[in-house]
Every structure is written in structure tokens, then in C-alpha cells.
Symmetry: C2
Subunit: 189 residues, 2 copies
Amino acid sequence: MATVDATTAESGKAAAPAPPAPAGGFPGAELALRALLFAVTLAALVVLATAKQTVLFPVPVLRAVMPMEAKFNHSPALIYLLVALCATCLYSLLTALGSLRPPTARTLFILLLLDVFYAAVMASATGSGGGVAWIGLKGNSHTRWNKICDAYGKFCRHIGSSVFLALVASVLLVLLAVLNAYSLYRRSR
Amino acid sequence: MATVDATTAESGKAAAPAPPAPAGGFPGAELALRALLFAVTLAALVVLATAKQTVLFPVPVLRAVMPMEAKFNHSPALIYLLVALCATCLYSLLTALGSLRPPTARTLFILLLLDVFYAAVMASATGSGGGVAWIGLKGNSHTRWNKICDAYGKFCRHIGSSVFLALVASVLLVLLAVLNAYSLYRRSR
């Protein structure tokens, strides 16, 4: 009986002129994830932008010390990470404000595309930053690239934390894409 | 009249027991993209795995030459790229075979999730491989990491081509995710 009732109700709904789109979406979860994404990317930005350390290296021949500075903008990979973090931070803020009202199917679709795009960009920036940070941490004996983290400890902690937060941001963006995909899937059944 | 007819047909369809799911999807485009993804990842794998070069460096003190080998597995970032390419190559083959029959909404949803996941993995692997390849190509004067591509030209061409093909694979995976998202969107309207 319950099945018949449900079917009747469904056919009734279909026959009504221009039925309102089902609510779909998970506004609470989406807003929370986007707010978290904003916090994480902002933290990563601050940590990366403040990655700066000057170390005094002794020069025995001259009986002097030479200051050597390490900054994030000495590496193109870390500049790319900064730009990607900036873009994602702005994106998360705008979409968090936009997710306050219930989404239409079209909005869900566009948000899904943007989430996938930003997830790919953040993942690639995390990869490139992480790859360079790993060389800084461990060096590479084959290419004679020496590790620098024994001398620039504070700088490396900043870079490492920033890469870790960027990884968290990538995972959050994938989760947001999954959430929007699930909302679309629920509507399509 | 047409509207009324369509509405009646729709309500009739809704009332019928277990209506067949609409076809949705773009099986032709999807199969083509997945076949292209397979070809690209396989080519990238072969190019990366064969990246190997031995260069003879003269040692004037000993009046001899010393052979120095460069191989992709000297760098963790390139090993990660190889593993990601292997996984994506296998994934593209399996899903290409699976996309021969018309997908259900559930299949589209699961494929979308997997595409997003693999896109993120491939993007991060491309980023990390590209970051390391860039240091090999340009060096970094601040950290005194010397470029190696002036000596290991053939090796660097292999790595560069592989990273480029991995980038193409990432773009293809994003396109596949977009395609599946659009199919879900079309069904949800």
C-alpha cells in the first residue's frame, strides 16, 4: 500500500506545472567545509609568506661571518604554491558566501566543476612544493643537491607546515567535489 | 497541448513499476577520452622508465674518466610519478572496458568520484615531478643546487616529456570528471 501511495504522490507531483526543484545539497556541511578550507588556506598562506630565515655562516679565511638568507620566493615551486593558495583562499571565501542559500542543480554542477579544477590546481601545487621541500630536507646525493634543512630549521618548518596545510586543502576540495557530486546524484535518481 | 502530453507521459512513466533509467552519459566521448588517457599514460610510463643516461666525466687528477649514471629512480618525486602513472594507466584500461555499456546514475557517480581522485593524484605527481625537473633544468643558485640538464640532456628530455604527458593525463581526467558531472546534471534536471 505504501508503495502505491508513494507512486501516486510522485505521479501527482510530476503532473503539477513547473514543480519546484528539490532542495538537494547539504548546505550545512558545505558551508562548514568551505569555512574550514578558507581557514586552512589562509593559515598556509601566512605560514608560507613568513618563511624567512637568515643564518650566519662563518668564513674562516676572512675571519668573518656571512649572512645567508632563505626566503620562499627563492623557489618557483613555492611561488606557485603561494599563488595557488591565494586563489583557493579567495575562491573558498566567495563560494562560502554563495553557499548560504539553497543551490539549484545548475549551481551544484558549476560548483562541482570549479571544485574539481581547484582540487587539481591545489594538488599540483602541493606536489611541486612538497617535491622541492623534500630535496631541502633530504638532499639528493646523486645530483649533489645538498639538504638545507640542517642549517635553515625554522625556514623548513614553515615550508613543511605550509605544504601539509596545502595537502589538507586539496583533500577538502576533493571532499567538496564529492559532496556536490552526491547532491547531483541524489537529484538524478 | 504538447506540454500536457509530455506531462501526462511523464506521470505515466513515474507510475509504471521500476522505470528504466534514462541513458544519459556520452559513451562515445567517454570511451575516446579513456582510450586517449590509456595511450598517454602508457607513453609517459615508457618514456619515464627508459630515462637513463650515463655520462663520462673527466677526472684530470687521475687522468681518467668516471662514468656517472642518471636514472629516474634516483628521485623520490619521479618514483611517485611512475607509481601514479601506473595506477592511472590501469584505471583507464579498466574503466574504458567498463564504459562500453550505458551507465546508470550510480555508475556515473562512482566514476565521477574515481576520476576526481585520480585527477588529484595525477596532478600532485605532475607537480612533484615537474618541480624536481625544473631544478634539474634551471638549478637554484640560492640553495646551490646545480642544474644537471646541461650534462644529462637525453635524460632530461625523457623526464620533461614524461611530465608533459602526465600533465595531459591530468587534464584528461579533469575532462572526464566534467563529462560525468554533466551527465549527472542532465539527469537531475
